[in-house]
């Protein structure tokens, strides 16, 4: 990622305008042609610096109001397979392995979203059944205090 890439990311990180050529203004500002901005963004996406480029909805507005973090205790030798299995589901937006501590034995974390609490619970039960895992907890979110996106400066 060079300085120009950084400037492009800085310019688009809060969103592009709904104009016919949304990259034109940025391109002019940086002394590039619009297609050059687009090519760079594509490359940044290929390089995984951009995780996703696209539209992000406010999930509450589209009815996704039941959000839970599910923590699982998975035997070490099965962790990878289980994580890959969980990751295949659209309802699972995040899946991480995390360090355990003497007072916290859960090593796999999934974020699960749904339109109803019950739907989320049933979905998680189904995951548990299919992986034959019994040691897990569902932590529904009550309130969001902070959510900041990763930014370049």
């Amino acid at each position: 990622m060079d300085n120009l890439d950084r400037e492009i990311l800085y310019a688009v990180q809060d969103g592009i305008p709904l104009t016919r050529e949304p990259f034109s203004a940025i391109a002019t500002h940086l002394g590039l042609a619009p297609h050059e901005v687009v090519e760079r963004l594509k490359r940044l996406r290929e390089e995984k610096i951009i995780r996703k480029f696209g539209l992000f909805v406010w999930k509450n507005k589209v009815g996704i109001v039941a959000n839970a973090m599910v923590v699982w205790s998975v035997p070490r030798e099965r962790l990878r397979d289980v994580a890959e299995f969980f990751s295949r589901f659209e309802e699972v937006t995040h899946c991480y392995q995390r360090r355990t501590t003497p007072k916290w034995r859960y090593n796999l974390y999934t974020m699960v979203h749904g339109t109803k609490r019950k739907t989320v619970e049933e979905f998680v039960e189904e995951l548990a059944k299919r992986t034959e895992l019994e040691d897990y907890e569902i932590l529904f979110s009550v309130r969001e205090f902070v959510r900041r996106s990763t930014r370049v400066s």
Partner: protein, 149 residues
């Protein structure tokens, strides 16, 4: 059509000079209609943004962790406010659990991360028993998209 449009722009956004035209072509509507619909959906509050989500590790935030705290119910709001004032805190949620406040910190390096965590710990006045520090070992998936139909 609104739902199809949102889904299309969410799941497979065309990075082209005229993306709305490309989207319109795929949905058999005009570029003008795509823009008009997205403008309306934006005014109606459905759209958070149309743009990139960036990979923290690649942008130079290399250290991160998830922290949980056990707080008395009536302290949650105050502590959450204090936590949110730290620039490195990226998420902070109240959850239904004995550990009821959960937050993530991202920093350029481990010492910077520890410094933020120490400051928060101190300000919140929690003991070792009331806190979990759970750095990630491996990311298997991050893909936030929702079924809209």
């Amino acid at each position: 059509m609104d739902r199809r449009l949102l889904e299309k722009a969410q799941n497979s956004f065309p990075l082209t000079v005229r993306p709305w035209r490309s989207i319109g072509n795929e949905l058999s509507i005009s570029e003008k209609e795509v823009i008009a619909r997205l403008n309306r959906l934006s005014k109606q509050g459905f759209i958070r943004k149309i743009g990139p989500s960036l990979n923290a590790v690649q942008t130079d935030l290399r250290a991160s962790t998830l922290v949980a705290m056990k707080l008395h119910e009536d302290r949650i709001q105050g502590v959450a406010k204090m936590i949110g004032e730290h620039r490195g805190v990226t998420h902070c949620y109240q959850r239904e659990h004995e550990y009821n406040l959960w937050f993530t910190i991202a920093a350029r390096n481990q010492p910077e991360l520890e410094k933020t965590l120490e400051a928060i710990k101190h300000a919140a006045g929690v003991t070792k028993d009331e806190l979990l520090n759970l750095p990630s070992i491996r990311t298997f998936k991050i893909d936030v998209r929702f079924r809209l139909s």
